[in-house]
């Protein structure tokens, strides 16, 4: 065996070929499953894509680098289920391009943070984390109260539609209007958002002011949507809880 390697080392092109073969095995094992990802990851029936406003919030989440400290994946560990709820399924992030699973937690996991805290808490926390969590080391993001730029949303929806996210042409055309309407429940377009994206979509003045659409509206809308796009994890990962006292 060693003698074979010794002789192979003397044939430089043979060695190059052998290195390529050896390194490719590692690559193929990682890449090959992706070719069949459409068949192995089933999209749940109740799954909805993000609304334009939530999508804008997702962009801000990426812009501010939130993923560097907050993961969006509950791992397959008992303690994680105990703290955060059912572990994350691949289908839950099927519409995420790119996915934001993250690999490091300085702050808590956010995969199921939607609905856990109130909008005013998120606003106060993002403007100054120490105002509500004195021991927090999270940076402050006061500039999120600036107006939201909705100019690219239509094109973004169209791009995601090409990647397989079920956005219709109608959704892409109305993206900016829908974003505006989701942050103003009394507006004429609010009903259209519910029609297009489902009744479960939260339509509120997320930053407390329905008159202005800010980046805060978008980011809080996104955070409040995390873990609420589908109930599939709650349905498939049944844990028996005691129903009656013995």
């Amino acid at each position: 065996m060693l003698r074979l390697h010794y002789n192979l080392e003397k044939i430089s092109m043979g060695l190059v070929a052998a290195i390529i073969v050896a390194a490719s095995i590692g690559g193929i094992v990682e890449i090959a499953p992706l070719f069949t990802v459409d068949e192995t990851v089933t999209i749940p029936d109740d799954m909805r894509p993000h609304t334009p406003l939530e999508l804008a919030g997702r962009e801000i989440f990426m812009r501010e680098g939130c993923y560097a400290c907050h993961s969006q994946m509950i791992r397959t560990l008992a303690d994680e289920i105990d703290r955060y709820g059912p572990y994350s399924l691949p289908s839950e992030s099927a519409y995420d391009h790119p996915m934001l699973w993250g690999s490091k937690r300085t702050g808590p996991d956010l995969a199921r943070v939607g609905g856990k805290y109130s909008d005013p808490w998120h606003v106060a926390h993002l403007i100054d984390p120490r105002a509500v969590v004195p021991a927090s080391i999270m940076p402050a993001y006061p500039w999120l109260m600036e107006p939201l730029d909705t100019g690219n949303l239509g094109a973004e929806l169209a791009t995601l539609a090409r990647l397989g996210v079920p956005y219709t042409e109608e959704m892409a055309t109305n993206a900016a209007a829908d974003a505006l309407a989701q942050g103003n429940p009394d507006s004429d377009g609010a009903a259209d958002v519910a029609t297009r994206y489902g009744e479960k979509v939260a339509i509120r003045a997320f930053d407390g002011d329905p008159a202005r659409l800010t980046e805060m509206d978008a980011l809080v809308a996104y955070l409040q949507s995390l873990g609420t796009l589908t109930d599939v994890a709650f349905e498939t990962e049944e844990v028996k809880v005691p129903e009656e006292a013995p």
């Binding site: 060693l2 008992a78 805290y117 926390h125 004195p134």
Partner: protein, 297 residues
């Protein structure tokens, strides 16, 4: 010059190792063999990987993957592990499912087991808004005092936890401080008068027969009670106890009257089990007594 085929390999007489066969003006390079230790470890890792491929999920096969002889699945293992956690707590957690609060609070042994778990649960879920010491903050009520918006007995707290306040839950508790100024129910001058009156209420110097008193009786007393004593269990706080949710300074009271308030308590029905909600309710209802005991020490 390199050693020619068929010739005996050139061996260094000092070390006993072969040389590479190259000769640079009399200098030769030893061809030291790999240490046996390294070769052994390399061999063991190869053997281990073959065993692992056989036992554990390993190779992708297009639409599937090799499951391994042990048939392990991380997801199932995690759920089973969580099940074990839940089963380990069941002996005392089961008492909280029924929610017989008087019996639970009276059972010292049960409380000694349950309260540390409740504290953990509080830190994971409630502390972000109400604070790690449960004393709240601007906009988030203090749970460690004895003032309650909806009621401080465990059953009422459990219901507040379950449905939330102004939450998306269909049975949510609903409480709204109207925006008297913004929605033009009162003139600016009237709001100024009311602001002064509410401040006076909290210090016990209010004159109920004055202009402020009349305004208060007409607009505020239906929710906050006669004289602003609160306690009607409809989410409107007492205004006479000196405790404030949003702040008792003039500017904050004016802002509350001008723009209204609609604080949100999320619903925990989907996130926590019935037993966990009851556990937290017992914990939270005992916080006031606990803090008083600490303060008097």
């Amino acid at each position: 010059m390199s050693a020619h085929d068929g010739e005996a390999p050139d061996v260094d007489p000092v070390t006993g190792y072969e040389t590479t066969g190259h000769d640079w003006n009399g200098i030769k390079e030893l061809n030291t063999p790999f240490p046996i230790f390294v070769i052994t470890i390399l061999g063991l890792t190869v053997v281990y990987s073959i065993i692992a491929w056989l036992l554990l999920p390993a190779w992708p096969t297009g639409r599937d993957y090799t499951r391994g002889l042990l048939g392990l699945d991380q997801g199932e293992m995690a759920v089973a592990g969580y099940q074990r956690l839940a089963d380990g707590r069941e002996d005392w957690m089961a008492r909280f499912v029924a929610g017989d609060f008087d019996a639970i609070v009276a059972d010292q042994a049960l409380m000694a087991k349950a309260m540390p778990a409740a504290h953990r649960l509080f830190l994971d879920n409630c502390a972000a808004c109400h604070g790690t010491d449960a004393t709240g903050g601007p906009g988030f009520p203090d749970l460690a005092d004895s003032d309650w918006l909806w009621g401080g007995d465990p059953a009422t707290i459990a219901e507040t936890l379950r449905v939330g306040i102004n939450s998306p839950h269909p049975e949510t508790r609903f409480a709204q401080m109207p925006a008297f100024g913004h929605d033009q129910m009162l003139e600016r001058a009237e709001i100024e008068t009311l602001t002064s009156y509410v401040q006076a209420l909290s210090t016990g110097q209010a004159d109920p027969d004055g202009e402020g008193g009349t305004l208060f009786a007409d607009n505020c007393a239906s929710c906050h009670g006669d004289g602003g004593v609160g306690g009607l269990g409809i989410g409107a706080p007492s205004l006479v106890d000196g405790h404030w949710i949003y702040g008792g300074d003039r500017a904050t009271i004016f802002a509350t009257l001008q723009r209204g308030r609609q604080g949100v308590m999320p619903t925990w029905a989907d996130r926590l089990s019935e037993a966990e909600i009851n556990l937290l309710a017992v914990y939270v209802s005992g916080l006031a007594a606990e803090h008083e005991a600490l303060a008097s020490r």
